[in-house]
Amino acid sequence: MIVRISGEGQFSIDDTATAELNRLDSELEAAVNRNDEAAFTSALHGLLDQVRAQGSPLPADTLEESDLILPPQDASMDEVRSMLTEEGLIPG
């Protein structure tokens, strides 16, 4: 599986790591729903750290598409919320 950390690059991750990523992702979602910025930041960093630890960076000249795209390390909760909508941050 290929995971992109936005603003950082793509990582190739073994599919067995997916369960842990999903667990961390649930934490992230719960934090967003609770509107808990501190929990959000720690969950996001946990998720990204996991990707970096488990994955190996793809070479820069690859043209492969990612299976998952994660928000950047310094994203705020509001930014991530806006990334969940069509009006989000990503320039169309």
Binding site: R4, S6, G7, G9, L21, N22, D25, S26, L28, E29, V32, L47, P59, A60, D61, T62, L63, E64, E65, S66, D67, L68, I69, L70, P71, P72, V80, M83, L84, T85, E86, G88, L89, I90, P91, G92
Partner: protein, 301 residues
């Protein structure tokens, strides 16, 4: 549209990762302008990639400019803080604790601005590095895309090319979306910091930080210190003169000789305006002396 529907329908059991991914991809795909001949789309997309490369490089330069501005302000504030501390030391030396306190209060204000700027500087530096890396990564992908594009154009007919093209596109358009977002975020941050930098410029100009560069109420601490030091010079001068008067009291009667010697000095002072450097102390005396020649001359003549 399909992605949006999918997103809404499955949002309940989809985490943040997947929703962000779907929205991101939907946008990246929409950004592709499809041409009738898919091979034309390749060239068109390549042009857009080159434009984005230019844009991200300009973004790096913009952030660097902001960073340098912050650096300049940091230097100014540091100088100001040093100067205020110096003034506080002098004020204490003159027994003026109140003035020293005022100087240190301003120094604390300058210092807190400085700390704020240091944090901004670090952020801008990080932003600059991120964009630099992003532009290098995009460059690698654009190069790879160009190679792929030439191969596809040389090898396949329009009909055959489509699937190959889609593969090449999906990777590059994702990267382009990501770089576009990085540029946007860097611009937003830079704009925020420029607004704050402008506010600090205004603060410095207002004299609240006692800016030496401008402002009408500039440096009242310094002027008070100057006044004190000037008045202590006056006191010293005064007691020196008093001392002269008491020791030279008998000679004082020979006022004529004294008057002559001053009159003799006066022409030198007038002929060579640069002569007065030594009389840093004599200056107050020599000014009336140069006015005086009229008197003795009158008296003599």
């Amino acid at each position: 549209m399909a992605a949006k529907k999918l997103m809404k329908g499955t949002a309940a059991r989809m985490g943040v990762m997947k929703r962000v991914s779907l929205v991101f991809k939907a946008k990246a795909n929409r950004a592709l302008d499809k041409m009738e001949d898919p091979r034309e789309t390749l060239d068109y997309s390549y042009q857009r990639q080159l434009e984005l490369l230019t844009k991200v490089r300009r973004g790096v330069a913009d952030v660097a400019t902001s960073r340098k501005r912050v650096e300049l302000q940091m230097n100014q504030l540091q100088q100001q803080a040093n100067k205020l501390e110096d003034q506080a030391r002098k004020a204490l030396g003159m027994g003026r604790e109140d003035l020293a306190r005022a100087a240190l209060e301003r120094k604390a204000s300058a210092q807190s601005q400085l700390n704020d700027l240091q944090a901004q500087y670090a952020q801008l530096q990080a932003e600059e590095e991120k964009l630099t890396v992003a532009s290098q990564r995009l460059q690698s992908k654009v190069d790879a895309f160009r190679t792929r594009k030439e191969t596809i154009k040389a090898t396949y007919t329009a009909a055959e090319a489509q699937t190959r093209i889609n593969e090449a596109f999906s990777g590059i358009s994702e990267e382009m979306g990501d770089v576009g977002m990085a540029i946007q975020r860097a611009e937003d941050k830079t704009a925020q910091m420029q607004a704050r930098a402008g506010a600090i410029d205004e603060l410095m100009a207002s004299g609240a930080l006692d800016d030496a560069v401008g402002g009408s109420r500039r440096d009242d601490i310094q002027s008070e210190l100057d006044m004190m030091s000037a008045s202590s010079d006056v006191e010293r001068e005064l007691s020196r003169l008093k001392g002269e008067i008491t020791s030279e009291a008998p000679k004082q009667l020979e006022g004529g000789a004294n008057g002559n010697s001053q009159a003799a000095q006066a022409p030198q002072g007038q002929g060579a305006p640069y002569a007065p450097p030594p009389p840093a102390q004599t200056q107050p005396a020599s000014i009336p002396a140069s006015d005086r020649p009229a008197e003795p001359q009158d008296g003599e003549g």
